[in-house]
């Protein structure tokens, strides 16, 4: 990779696992839990956040020397809000149904702590290219968890993936359902999102002992 030095690669790779925004840095939990009942919504949310954080990090990084530090929060919020409005309008135009399901949670990307957290911790102190990579990396790390949770909740909760009936038809009793398998409707309710994330954290920390808290 001529374009990316070793450090740059680390910027993208670290947030995917050992420095994951959700499971390690504890940022951006709200949206991660609320919209993951189906895989499609999770994927769209992940893409939206990659877009907002990637571009937002570059913009903040370009402006970092001219923003007075006292009003930087308002400046950051304005940048994010503008980007989120773009996402919201695009969603409304091309996929109205989905924008209805996501509802207020598209707007809540603005206060997604991942975004402010990366602006404060990285973009304010680094150049645009590195900030861009950092933004993409962190948003992708967030997206991976989102998609994982969405995958399990949709598969176990409604027996579908992206709307396709992968486990057979629950009404006509085909596929797995013929063997007496039942959907666990509880997975679709909000508390299970918390528990699924809790289990992901458990698995991750069991595999990497260095992450265990005291």
């Amino acid at each position: 990779m001529g374009l990316l030095s070793k450090k740059d690669v680390a910027l993208i790779k670290d947030p995917l696992a050992d420095d994951n925004p959700i499971t390690i840095q504890v940022l951006g939990i709200c949206s991660a839990l609320a919209i993951t009942a189906e895989l499609k919504a999770s994927i769209v949310m992940a893409i939206s956040v990659v877009f907002v954080l990637g571009i937002g990090n570059v913009v903040i990084s370009l402006m970092r020397n001219i923003i007075p530090s006292k009003i930087r929060i308002i400046v950051q919020l304005t940048v994010v809000a503008t980007l989120v409005i773009i996402v919201d309008q695009v969603l409304k135009a091309y996929s109205y149904e989905l924008s209805k399901t996501l509802g207020a949670f598209v707007g809540l990307i603005i206060t997604n702590c991942i975004i402010m957290g990366r602006f404060e911790a990285f973009a304010l102190g680094n150049g645009p290219w590195r900030s861009f990579l950092d933004g993409i990396g962190n948003a992708a790390g967030y997206g991976i968890i989102l998609i994982l949770v969405g995958f399990f909740r949709e598969l176990l909760g409604s027996g579908t993936l992206l709307g396709y009936k992968v486990l057979g038809d629950s009404v006509e009793k085909t596929g797995l359902y013929a063997l007496g398998y039942e959907n666990n409707g509880f997975m679709l309710l909000s508390p299970m999102a918390l528990i699924v994330v809790g289990i992901i954290i458990w698995v991750q920390r069991t595999r990497n002992k260095a992450l265990i808290e005291d």
Binding site: C30, A34, A81, C113, S190, E213
Partner: protein, 238 residues
């Protein structure tokens, strides 16, 4: 009646943390000690009580389709609702700053206890979420908006207080090493959320009992209605 219903609904049934996962970041980060949790909870109630009614006014008189008609007939066709994110967040950020200055001036002791939490709150999703849900649930009047702000704030306060108390105690328990800290907090929150789901029938239960005295047909109607309402609630929450 409407007010009481909204009050209990936003505290228990649509609890911000357990039903919609709003403000989870600060909920997880600041819940290690009860005293700090109380400080942040109070600040959230305070800021929600101010920003939700304010954003309600903005929504009614500036942002909604046709809201600008008070300026004159030619403005009646304007629809500025796409600006609501930026307007809401600007209001919240400025209000938080303003509240901080006012509290510092008039009540230094309150400032000392809320102080560090106020700036944090501008980026707490619970605050923006309060305004966005106020908009999407079409709260009808300014009084109800104020009520919604305060009661959902109280719901958040209760949640963070409860988890902080549990986390203080759990330090003495033998939790599997990999679950310590964040993992177990998630799972406890999930269990608490399951507990809070039992409040779901709180407001519909009474109606069914009243209807039982009348004909059975009506009971069925009420039941399907309440089931529908429940389904609506869950779709909103999801």
């Amino acid at each position: 009646m409407e007010h009481i219903e909204l009050f209990f609904k936003s505290i228990f049934i649509d609890n911000m943390v357990f039903a919609t996962f709003l403000g989870m970041c600060s909920y997880l980060a600041v819940s290690k000690k009860v005293s700090t949790a109380v400080g942040l909870g109070a600040a959230v109630v305070f800021v929600l009580a101010i920003t939700v009614p304010l954003n309600w006014l903005l929504d009614q008189y500036i942002l909604q389709p046709g809201a600008l008609s008070w300026l004159g007939a030619e403005y009646a066709s304007y629809d500025l609702s796409f600006l609501s994110f930026i307007m809401f967040i600007a209001t919240i950020a400025t209000m938080v700053q303003l509240v901080e200055i006012i509290v510092e001036k008039f009540s230094p002791s309150l400032y000392n206890s809320l102080g560090i939490f106020l700036p944090l709150i501008a980026v707490n999703c619970a605050i923006l979420g309060g305004s966005l849900f106020m908009q999407s649930r079409e709260i009808a009047s300014l009084g109800l908006a104020l009520n919604y702000g305060i009661s959902s704030g109280i719901g958040w306060f209760l949640a963070i207080l409860a988890i902080a108390a549990i986390r203080e105690k759990i330090r003495y328990s033998n939790v599997p090493p990999a679950l310590r800290g964040l993992g177990i907090t998630f799972i406890i929150t999930g269990l608490m959320a399951i507990g809070f789901m039992s409040f779901g029938g709180m407001l519909t239960g009474g109606d069914e009992e009243e209807a039982k005295e009348e004909t059975t047909v009506q009971v069925e109607a009420v039941e399907t209605e309440s089931a529908k309402e429940l389904a609506n609630n869950t779709t909103i929450n999801e």
